[in-house]
Amino acid sequence: MIDRAQESFGRVLLTVVVALVLTVLPLPSWLDAVRPAFLVITVLYWSIAAPRVGGIGLGFFSGVALDVFRGAVLGQHALALTAITYVAVREHQKIRLKPSFQQALIMLGALVAYEFILFAIDGWTGHPMTSPLRWIHALTGALIWPLATAVLDRVRGSR
């Protein structure tokens, strides 16, 4: 994974839009609970693979899109995504060198941190949702991380 000098922004945008569609696609409720945060995973992937194109800015604007679609307080998902993309961008070279399994563990940590920020803001805005269901997606997200990187690597490689 060599950071290419000019990663095409259009390609990044395409994957982000696809991930957004997957995130908002109506699903039956049992599937919805285990649905991984596709958009978050995609943004994390680009922050690690191509931090100059898909970095903190991408995280912020994807977060605003999530806020709009989720009907959350404007800035909630944006702040959470900004925070975890910052860590991902800062540590991207170290994370890249890890084997897939360890990367998945790091993603688990990142997704839990992401959900925790959302949880904290939920509490602050007076909508505490303490159901344990909200944490499940971190696990499924970490599980599909190897698959997601494989797919996104292909998207990135085929130019």
């Binding site: 908002v24 899109a65 709009v68 800035g75 800062r90 269901l133």
Partner: protein, 333 residues
């Protein structure tokens, strides 16, 4: 360690701000957005346009399901259409019979109350809306419907189906609105028990066919089968619309009674809902609580955040809802 990582980033990129700087910038921006959105309602207009840009994608995402319903509807066999037609005719006849009686009762009621003339119905007019997107999970019970501010929809408007109360609009875009259902865990609807007239609050559970009544004391007079009507408090729903029926009452000693009610509205099979406009001047229309009104009364009610109050129309859309904007500002203080 941090310096090492940051330095590497700069070296490999050659230009652009350090990640720490852009993180700071975007984090501050996000926090400012949150404060503006939450505290002042300054972003109502922004959200209005954002929801308009999001709507095409939401429509596109829901289009497979819509296409499926359409295909199924158009392929419905003749017999089932005839059966449906017969059922509707019967329902229509039943309703007309009830209505005849209703007119007589309304007149009689007006007489009893000493009013000169029978009052007009509290519902002024209504509009059918199609459900574009459904979100029914334990954390959020929401709908997206295809009517918005262009159709005169306002925030905090009551949504019903043919069986009972469904919820209210929380966000209104130009062509679409988001509806929070009464079963959403963040939603609370002030109700009264029809048999006894006791007022309480029914809170959503995240399960799309039940509500709980957390505030009734252990010795409350509630029985399975009791009907819950909207009480008209809270300023969103008018008095007297059916919400749910008590399904289960569990008394544990010294604990508040655990009471579960089944929703009358059919949340699991929603394609169309009804938006209702009420006459503000009607006595049964929603009454708005004034400042401190909740300070008296049941202390158990006060520890409830009672989101129904917060979800009143926002103050920043005077051109949409001139009469409703002011009290909402008072309530949310």
């Amino acid at each position: 360690m941090a310096a090492y990582g940051a330095g590497n980033y700069r070296a490999s990129q050659g230009r652009g701000p350090a990640p720490g700087f852009s993180f700071f910038l975007y984090a501050v921006l996000a926090i400012v957005l949150m404060v503006l959105d939450r505290r002042g309602g300054y972003l109502v207009q922004v959200r209005y346009y954002l929801s308009a840009t999001a709507y095409p994608l939401q429509l596109a995402v829901s289009s497979p399901a819509q296409a499926w319903h359409w295909t199924r509807d158009s392929l419905t066999a003749r017999e089932s259409l005839e059966a449906q037609n017969a059922a509707l005719l019967k329902q229509n006849r039943d309703l007309s019979m009830k209505l005849m009686r209703f007119d007589a009762l309304a007149y009689e009621n007006a007489e009893l109350r000493g009013l000169r003339a029978a009052l007009p119905a509290v519902a002024d007019h209504w509009m059918a809306a199609e459900v574009v997107d459904v979100e029914l999970n334990p954390l959020r019970q929401r709908l997206l419907i295809n009517r918005g501010a262009r159709n005169g929809v306002f925030r905090g408007q009551a949504i019903m189906d043919n069986y009972g109360l469904l919820g209210q609009t929380t966000r209104v875009g130009p062509w679409s609105s988001e509806v929070i259902l009464v079963s959403d865990p963040e939603h609370a609807v002030p109700v009264e028990i029809e048999r006894t007239g006791v007022h309480t609050i029914a809170v959503g559970t995240g399960d799309s066919d039940s509500l709980v009544l957390p505030d009734l004391p252990a010795n409350a007079d509630v029985k399975p089968g009791d009907l819950l009507l909207t009480s008209g408090l809270g300023g969103v729903f008018p008095q007297g619309y059916p919400v749910a029926r008590i399904a289960e009452v569990r008394h544990d000693s010294a604990q508040p009674a655990q009471i579960r009610a089944t929703l009358l509205a059919h949340l699991n099979a929603l394609h169309e809902v009804t938006l209702v406009w009420f006459q503000d001047t009607h006595p049964a229309a929603p009454t708005r609580l004034k400042d401190g009104a909740s300070a008296s009364g049941n202390p158990a009610l006060q520890k409830q955040p009672a989101p129904a109050l917060e979800l009143l129309p926002p103050p920043a859309l005077p051109h949409l809802t001139p009469a409703r904007a002011k009290p909402a500002a008072q309530d949310s203080q």
